[in-house]
């Protein structure tokens, strides 16, 4: 065997391990999943674009049917939750596992992982709540996935001013509005449920440390993605 070891070709470097993407598997898996989710929303948004441009009439004017100020507030909530998610991420990177801690010389206390995750969950849940209220209100006024309900308040308004309310394509408007925002809301709900689960199984028992906070990073990726999708949806569905 001594002979064998001498014949090892020392001129060749050992083959590298090529350990892949250079990130841990959970994060890589989330990236791949988000790529797939991009395609899902692409199908919905792409169909929306095709339907809107090919529609036989003008879409309703922004704000005519939908309550833009309410949803603008909701958008603000979701952006806040993204900020608090970043704060949670920064907190655990610094090893701040606590809820709130007084800072000498300051009135405001310093938030840790537990605080910022709770803020994120609450903002996310509030977003879903406001969206549900919006849905109930719209359906009550007569805006459904099939268009304006006969005999409803909105149907009367639309009959009086068909251009403003986009009467000719109200069916398409309802279809795409409820499907796109609905599936976004479903994504937010899934995120809130996952974060709540993590909160009780990992955050409160202080399982995360500056050495391992993979769950926070991975759910954070998902959360920012959902937030980003909302900004696109808010723009194309509510504002233009």
């Amino acid at each position: 065997m001594t002979h064998a070891t001498q014949t090892v070709d020392s001129m060749r470097p050992p083959f590298p391990a090529e350990s892949g993407a250079g990130v841990y598997s959970n994060k890589l898996g989330m990236w791949v999943f988000l790529a797939s989710d991009v395609m899902f929303f692409t199908a919905l948004i792409g169909s929306y674009i095709v339907l809107r441009f090919g529609a036989p009439g003008e879409w309703a004017k922004p704000g005519a049917v939908l309550n833009v100020p309410l949803t603008a507030f909701n958008t603000f909530l979701l952006i806040c939750s993204s900020v608090s998610m970043v704060k949670a991420y920064a907190a655990i990177q610094d090893g701040k596992k606590y809820f709130l801690r007084p800072v000498p010389g300051k009135t405001l206390r310093d938030g840790g992982l537990k605080f910022w995750m709770l803020v994120t969950i609450l903002c996310g849940a509030a977003f879903v709540g406001v969206q549900l209220i919006e849905y109930f209100k719209l359906v009550h006024e007569g805006f459904t996935p099939a268009g304006f309900r006969d005999g409803s308040l909105l149907a009367e308004h639309a009959a009086a001013d068909p251009i403003k309310y986009g009467l000719a394509v109200a069916g398409l408007y309802g279809s795409s509005f409820f499907t796109m925002t609905g599936f976004h809301g479903f994504h937010v709900t899934c995120g809130v449920i996952s974060m709540t689960y993590l909160y009780f199984t990992k955050v409160l028992p202080e399982k995360y440390s500056p050495q391992d906070y993979r769950g926070i990073e991975v759910i954070g990726l998902y959360w920012h993605f959902v937030d980003l999708v909302w900004i696109i949806l808010f723009t194309i569905v509510y504002l233009i």
Partner: protein
């Protein structure tokens, strides 16, 4: 990320013995999940086959009572036993649906991506074993939901497997309500299952390769499965989105595909085929990859043009995204767009031809071993070539105008899906059977099965080209109602007899498969003298695969090399360390 490195080293603590339920039913072992997929998708293959036989009965012998047809309910069959037109369309629809979504796709991806990827790259398991288990159970659930369509009032959808609107979006046109909903729900669940699986495959291939398993030392089967997973992860969500819109059109009264309210029927076709064409390559690329491995083994030569094979896979996968319009030349789409799609489609012939050329280059002057997998692999190459050539007919717009929606299309798809994918699957099942079950399938029966299938298969599907050129429509219920189709009826009858024979021959395979589970010859560790990492393990391989993460010393196709011959054999496995080899640098924790 210290904990990750930690969980890697004590992987074996988790792989302790388990109860029957945890081990075989709710298993997270990629090999068991692969085997679960195998049994389930072979069952759905049988279901699809039974549906096909009824289609052939109707086409060969229209207006003749179907033997045994009386047991079917009266919504399917007339009182005298003749298949009703509605049921015929349902047969066609569900044959396509089951074969594509629940037989071929899970057989190739569900079974072999699960089974082969970790074994061939030297990993202990998938990156996310629990998600992997979910992927299987969701696929089974989706299959059962689809199957339930037969047991609801008015049965499954009647719009063809492509589920074109407005037929599928309006129950007043199709006469089907519940069955249509079940189809959409099943597709959404299946999409979820596929995405979960694909996320797993991609992550595993990128992050869990053993030290020394560089990208260009991966076997072509792993390359193909990896690229297929990328297609799956990006294509299935589009189908899900489309299926959800279809579902909402049916349930919530939305108007996505309803032209009366401003929706667009053509939108469904665009969405469906934007998914559908990458899907075509999901159904063939894994077959190409596995056949590449088997042909190199059967030829005792390195695969010809390994790198060009890899780039051909990538090229086909990329081009697959920009050709969907060739399914829609006759849909009323802008004809200028048609020319674009024609050119991109014809381009796919280039990487496909590279692959066929390379397979033949591999066999050229090889020391051929005609074992059963090799025979089936050669069957794949020859039949795929015919299927590929008939594809060029339809890719060219002027030729497609008379040929589209005829039996010529049926011939084409079966040449690539049966002659292509299914022959590759016969090869793959036989080849990796010992790794799955520890026994060999009977080679004699396997050879008889191959030759009989090969003959009956060509007798069944080749004449479809002819009757298609004669103008017989793709989903016609009764060809004899048209005078110009009447002269072809004897050929239709002939095809039916051949199809019945083809179906019967498959029981030989089923028998061989089941019989060998218990009575097959015990498999030696490396029965095919192959180089793959999986053959360093006992048959069947234990949970967790390797005791210690193995090292990889070379590429997968070192057949008949001087180093191998110096060892007195004609192959040199990837896991064998020669005195001149150095260990690869250990993997960094990730």
């Amino acid at each position: 990320m210290t904990t990750v490195a930690h969980s890697r080293t004590d992987a074996h603590a988790e792989h302790a013995p388990m109860s029957f339920w945890r081990k075989y039913i709710f298993s997270t072992d990629h090999k068991i999940i692969g085997i679960q997929f195998l049994f389930v998708s072979l069952f759905f293959l049988l279901v699809g086959g039974i549906l096909a036989m009824q289609i052939r009965w109707q086409l060969g012998f229209p207006n003749t009572p179907m033997p045994g047809g009386k047991i079917l309910p009266e919504t399917y069959i007339a009182s005298n036993g003749v298949i009703l037109p509605e049921y015929y369309v349902q047969l066609v629809t569900m044959h396509g649906t089951f074969m594509i979504f629940f037989a071929i796709m899970p057989l190739l991806v569900g079974v072999y991506a699960n089974f082969l990827i970790p074994l061939k790259i030297g990993a202990h398991d998938m990156a996310f074993p629990r998600i992997n288990m979910w992927s299987f159970w969701l696929a089974l659930l989706a299959g059962l939901i689809m199957l339930a369509g037969f047991f609801v009032p008015n049965g499954p959808p009647r719009c063809g497997w492509t589920m074109y609107v407005p037929c599928s979006a309006r129950s007043d046109l199709s006469g089907v309500t519940t069955g249509q909903l079940l189809w959409s729900v099943s597709i959404v669940v299946l999409g979820l299952s596929s995405v979960m699986g694909s996320v797993n495959y991609i992550t595993t291939v990128i992050n869990h390769r053993a030290p020394g398993m560089t990208w260009f030392r991966m076997p072509l089967s792993v390359w193909a499965l990896f690229i297929t997973a990328i297609l799956g992860v990006l294509a299935l969500p589009v189908l899900q989105g489309a299926a959800i819109m279809l579902l909402f059109d049916n349930v919530l009264g939305t108007h996505f595909f309803d032209p009366v309210a401003g929706g667009q029927a053509l939108l469904w076709q665009h969405l469906f085929w934007f998914f559908g064409h990458p899907e075509v390559y999901i159904l063939i690329l894994p077959a190409m990859g596995m056949v590449s491995d088997i042909i190199a083994n059967g030829s005792r030569k390195p695969i010809f043009g390994y790198h060009s094979m890899v780039f051909a896979i990538i090229g086909i996968a990329f081009l697959g995204w920009i050709v969907w319009g060739h399914h829609m030349f006759m849909s009323g789409m802008n004809p200028t767009l048609g020319s674009t799609f024609m050119v991109s489609t014809l381009l796919i012939a280039v990487p496909s031809a590279v692959k066929v050329f390379n397979w033949m280059g591999t066999m050229w002057r090889g020391n051929l071993r005609f074992h059963v997998p090799m025979l089936n692999a050669i069957g794949f190459v020859s039949m795929f070539t015919i299927g590929g050539l008939s594809g060029i007919f339809m890719a060219a717009t002027p030729v497609d105008i008379p040929l589209h929606d005829t039996q010529f299309i049926v011939a084409h798809i079966h040449y690539v899906l049966f002659g292509g994918s299914l022959f590759a699957l016969f090869a793959a099942i036989t080849y990796w059977y010992p790794k799955m079950f520890g026994r060999m399938m009977n080679p004699g029966l396997g050879k008889i099965h191959f030759w009989l299938t090969f003959v009956a298969y060509n007798l069944t599907f080749f004449p479809m080209h002819i009757i298609g050129m004669g103008g017989q429509m793709r989903r016609i219920y009764d060809p004899t109602i048209y005078d110009f189709l009447k002269p072809q009826q004897p050929l239709n009858e002939f095809i039916s007899y051949a199809a019945f024979a083809l179906f019967a021959i498959q029981f030989l395979f089923a028998f061989n498969f089941l019989w060998s589970l218990k009575f097959g010859q015990k498999a030696p560790q490396n029965p095919w003298d192959d180089n793959g990492m999986e053959w360093s393990l006992p048959n069947p391989a234990p949970h967790g695969n390797w005791e210690r993460t193995p090292n990889v010393y070379r590429g997968p196709y070192e057949f008949s090399s001087p180093e191998a011959e110096a060892r007195g054999s004609d192959f040199l496995p990837q896991y064998v360390k020669l005195p001149t080899d150095r260990d690869p640098a250990p993997a960094a924790g990730h």
